[in-house]
């Protein structure tokens, strides 16, 4: 479980790409269906290479997401820190599961992330659509196998963890 410099570069680059995918402009009807890219990549690294990640990393990543999305500073940070904590704690149980069972756990984690985000949005008095609770977790779950395969190849090539 030693960390290497190339490992850190690979992890950071994948997270930067996730932030860019999050900032990608999408048509209005698809806005609700935007996958939680940053959460997906963070969950992967928490499970596959726990030595590189942690609660604080999720939190800092969330701060960047807050600035990018123009939300309250700390909103995405809190949600991602919690996701990182849970993913880190159960990484041994989840990483031995077949990929579709992993996807179900990812649904749960992204749902947790989404619920926290929507609660904080709701506390500020903004209207929240009920379908937003499940649309993003669902699309994230369906995308998980592809994210998993791409990041696994990246991990093997750069021998992360």
């Amino acid at each position: 479980m030693n960390t290497t410099r190339t490992g850190y570069i690979a992890v950071t680059l994948s997270l930067v790409v996730a932030l860019m995918l999050t900032a990608l402009p999408m048509p209005a009807w698809a806005a609700l269906w935007r996958p939680a890219w940053v959460a997906l990549v963070l969950i992967y690294w928490c499970m596959a290479a726990p030595a590189y990640t942690g609660v604080v990393m999720g939190w800092v990543l969330g701060l960047f997401l807050d600035v990018l999305a123009g939300t309250l500073l700390g909103q995405h940070a809190l949600a991602l820190a919690l996701v990182a904590f849970v993913a880190h704690r159960f990484h041994r149980q989840v990483r031995v599961l077949p990929i579709w069972q992993q996807a179900v756990s990812v649904f749960g984690l992204v749902f947790l992330y989404q619920v926290l985000n929507l609660w904080i949005t709701g506390i500020q008095g903004m209207p929240v659509l009920a379908s937003a609770y499940w649309s993003s977790p669902l699309i994230s779950m369906l995308l998980w196998p592809w994210v998993y395969i791409v990041l696994r190849d990246l991990r093997r090539r750069y021998q992360v963890a």
């Binding site: 900032a23 820190a81 919690l82 903004m126």
Partner: protein, 278 residues
């Protein structure tokens, strides 16, 4: 576990401070500068696409565009001449009446970098920031009407709130009847509502609303929208009046940032509070 609790406490404190006061502008500005390259990188392919489309458009189209624009320019020039005359007359009359005229606002063209990542709020990121003299509270217009106002400024970019955001309200005046009211954003839809208008208020479908300039934030006289629906419910104290914004909020790439002719004193207050104090 200890780390999670620490981080959660810091997050809650940050959110509370960010929501209640404006002390975190410096932190937000630093982080915005760090993510600015990302936003530019995401925008790059779109810019490249536009560039390619422009460069490979046919000569015939360019010629016809040119002719149309020339004609437009001619018409606008004629109108402008008349307007300059009227403006001079207005200034003369105002001098006679001893009241100050508010003409000669400064403008700057800015481009959109990114739009609404969050489906609940209506915010945009512009490619002009403190370096170009952008200030918090500046209004944002396009060629058809008012779009919104600047809420955060970073060195190279700035965040603006559109008038359709649920936390935004703007003081307007009915062009026909002179009735003043507040146009409040209602979120996901491309619509505004007029707040607190009694059932017998003088509003009709098709009425044009312009900014009243009362909040001190927006310059007066810019078109805001047109009333598309008036519902008068006997059982309710207020009428529901729906307004369609005249600015093309969802379709623009270029916007105009306006500096008021006279600097206003109210620019350090929260946007919502400044505007709702009609």
């Amino acid at each position: 576990m200890a780390r999670l609790i620490a981080v959660a406490v810091v997050s809650v404190v940050l959110m509370t401070v960010d929501h209640r006061a404006q002390h975190l502008e410096a932190l937000r500005s630093v982080l915005s500068t760090l993510v600015y390259p990302l936003q530019v990188a995401v925008d790059l392919p779109i810019q490249a696409g536009n560039w390619v489309a422009e460069n490979f458009s046919s000569r015939q189209r360019l010629v016809s565009d040119n002719a149309r624009l020339r004609e437009n320019q001619f018409l606008l020039d004629a109108k402008l001449e008349k307007l300059a005359d009227l403006e001079a007359e207005n200034r003369r009359l105002r001098n006679l009446l001893d009241s100050s005229a508010k003409v000669g606002e400064r403008v700057l063209v800015a481009e959109l970098l990114s739009v609404d990542m969050d489906p609940y709020s209506r915010r945009i990121v512009l490619n002009k920031g403190a370096r170009d003299g952008v200030e918090v509270g500046q209004s944002l217009i396009d060629s058809n009407g008012v779009m919104g106002q600047v809420v955060h400024v970073a060195p190279f970019s700035s965040n603006a709130l559109l008038i359709t955001d649920p936390s935004h309200a703007l003081p307007v005046q009915n062009h026909r009847s002179g009735l003043r009211s507040l146009a409040v954003g209602i979120g996901p839809l491309n619509q505004l509502e007029l707040a607190h208008l009694p059932n017998n208020a003088d509003v009709r479908i098709g009425d044009v609303l312009v900014t009243s300039g009362l909040g001190g934030r927006f310059p007066a006289g810019y078109p805001v929208g047109r009333i598309v629906k008036v519902e008068r419910n006997r059982g309710r104290p207020f009428a529901t009046v729906t307004v369609q914004p005249s600015a093309r909020l969802e379709r623009n790439r270029e916007v105009l940032l306006v500096w008021p002719a006279q600097p206003d004193e109210a620019s350090d207050t929260m946007p919502t509070h400044a505007e709702s104090a009609e």
